[in-house]
Point group: C2
Chain length 248, copies 2
C-alpha cells in the first residue's frame, strides 16, 4: 500500500540530460527518485506531466511519487529538497494526490514559455536561460505567423522524428508573442504537445521575426505536414515548462 503525493518541481535544465532517466548523465527523475529512496529506503518511480529534453527548464513541473508511508506533505517537500542537494532541482509544493491522480494522464493543459534575448550583445547574466538572437526580431510579425498555428491541426511539420505520439493532431490553445524590453517571449498552451513541438514552432517564428519568412509562410509550412517544411529547432535553454492544470 503506497500513498501518492502530487509535487510541483522547479529545475535548472542546464544541469540535466532532461526529465527522464538516461544512461548518459544526470536526470531530474533520477535525482528525485534517489531522494525518495533516501527518505523511504524504497525504490519509486517519479512521473511528470512532461518529459522535458536536455537543457529545458521547469518553473513548475507537475509530478507524482508513491511513498510507502503516510508522511505529512510538508515533511515530504522538505525531506526531498534536503536529499536532492546540491542539484538544482527543488520541490516547491507537495500535497496528497486526489484519488486517481496521475501527473501525466490527469493533465488538462500544459503551458510553456520560450525566452529569446534579442540584442546585439550576447547575454551574460541570462546566458543559460535564453536563446540569443542578435538580428532584430519583429514580434508583431511573429504574432501574425503564430496565429496560423492556433487551433486543431496536424502538427507533423513541428514534430521531432522520434516523437512517440500516436497522432500528429493537437489542439493549440494559445501561441502568443510579446516583446519585453530586450526579450521576446513566446507563450504556448495546449492539452499536450508533440515532441519538440514548441521548439520547432519557435524556430519557425524566428524566421518570420527576422523577415526571412512571411507570416503566411507559417501556414504553408503547417499545411505541408513535413518536418522539412518547418524552420530550425530552437535551442533548449530558452524553454521553460511553466504550468500544468489538473482537475480541481
Amino acid at each position: 500500500m503506497t500513498v501518492r503525493y502530487k509535487l510541483t518541481v522547479e529545475y535548472d535544465g542546464a544541469a540535466f540530460v532532461g526529465w527522464q532517466r538516461q544512461n548518459n548523465g544526470l536526470s531530474v527523475q533520477g535525482v528525485l527518485e534517489e531522494a525518495v529512496r533516501r527518505l523511504t529506503g524504497c525504490d519509486c518511480s517519479a512521473v511528470a506531466a512532461g518529459r522535458t529534453d536536455t537543457g529545458v527548464h521547469a518553473l513548475a513541473m507537475g509530478a507524482h511519487v508513491d511513498l510507502i508511508r503516510d508522511y505529512d506533505p510538508e515533511t515530504v517537500r522538505k525531506a526531498l529538497n534536503f536529499h536532492m542537494k546540491p542539484h538544482p532541482v527543488a520541490v516547491i509544493e507537495a500535497s496528497l494526490a486526489p484519488q486517481g491522480f496521475h501527473a501525466r494522464f490527469s493533465a488538462l493543459e500544459r503551458s510553456y514559455l520560450y525566452r529569446i534575448s534579442n540584442r546585439p550583445t550576447p547575454p551574460v547574466l541570462e546566458r543559460h536561460r535564453v536563446w540569443w538572437i542578435s538580428n532584430p526580431l519583429d514580434a508583431e510579425r511573429m504574432s501574425l505567423g503564430a496565429a496560423h498555428l492556433i487551433g486543431h491541426h496536424d502538427f507533423s511539420t513541428f514534430r521531432a522524428g522520434d516523437c512517440q505520439a500516436k497522432s500528429p493532431f493537437k489542439t493549440l490553445d494559445d501561441l502568443s508573442v510579446e516583446r519585453q524590453g530586450d526579450e521576446v517571449h513566446i507563450h504556448a498552451r495546449s492539452r499536450s504537445f508533440l515532441h519538440r513541438q514548441v521548439r520547432n514552432m519557435v524556430g519557425t517564428l524566428k524566421m518570420v521575426g527576422e523577415g526571412k519568412w512571411s507570416p503566411q509562410d507559417v501556414k504553408t509550412a503547417l499545411e505541408a505536414r513535413a518536418r522539412a517544411a518547418g524552420g530550425p529547432t530552437a535551442p533548449p535553454q530558452g524553454l521553460y515548462f511553466v504550468k500544468v492544470i489538473y482537475p480541481a
Copy 2:
C-alpha cells in the same frame, strides 16, 4: 593621445571578486583591461561608476576606457566582447565619450536593485541571483521602514567599516519596496552610496519585513549613527547595479 570610450557593461557577479582588480581572483576590471590590451596592444585603466563587491551583479554599469586609436565604437564593443570570452561580462553599449567625461566623477545618479526570493523552498533557477528568505516578508511594512531613510542623512549606521568616503552624509532619493510574486524587490537611487550602504539597508529592512523590528526602529537605527545599531548585511548575490545617469 588617447580616445575615451564610454561603455555600458553587464556582468554576473558570481564569477568575480568584484569590479576592482584584486590579488585573490578574477575581477571585472581585470578582464576588461586585458581585453583592451589584446585589442590595442597597450595597457589601459578601466574606470567604473561603482566598484561593486564580490558577487554583486551589474545590468548596466557605466565605465570608460582610453584607447590609443580612434576606433569605430561598434568595433570596440564587438572586439572587447570577443576578447572577454568566456567570462560572464559583456559590453552592451560603447560610444565616444563626451569631452571631460569620467565614468565615476560625472555620474549624477546611481540605481541599484536588490532581489529577495521569499518562499518556503530555496530557489534553484535563480540560486545565484537572489537572497533566499523563507520567512514571509511584509513588503508594505518594509516600505514604511524604508521611508525613514529617504532624504539627506548621516548614514553611518549603514556604512561598512572600510568605507573610504570622506563624509557619511548622503542624499537617498529613493528606497522603495515592492512584492512581485515570490520576490521582494528593493530599489535604491542616490547620487552616490557609501560602501555596502544598500546591502546594509536591505538587511535592516529584512528585520522589519519579518516583524522583528518596527518600521520606527529603522529611524532609531539611522539616528544612532553606528553600524552596530543597524541590521545584518544582506548577501551580495541579490544586488544589481542597474543604472547610472550622466549629464545629457
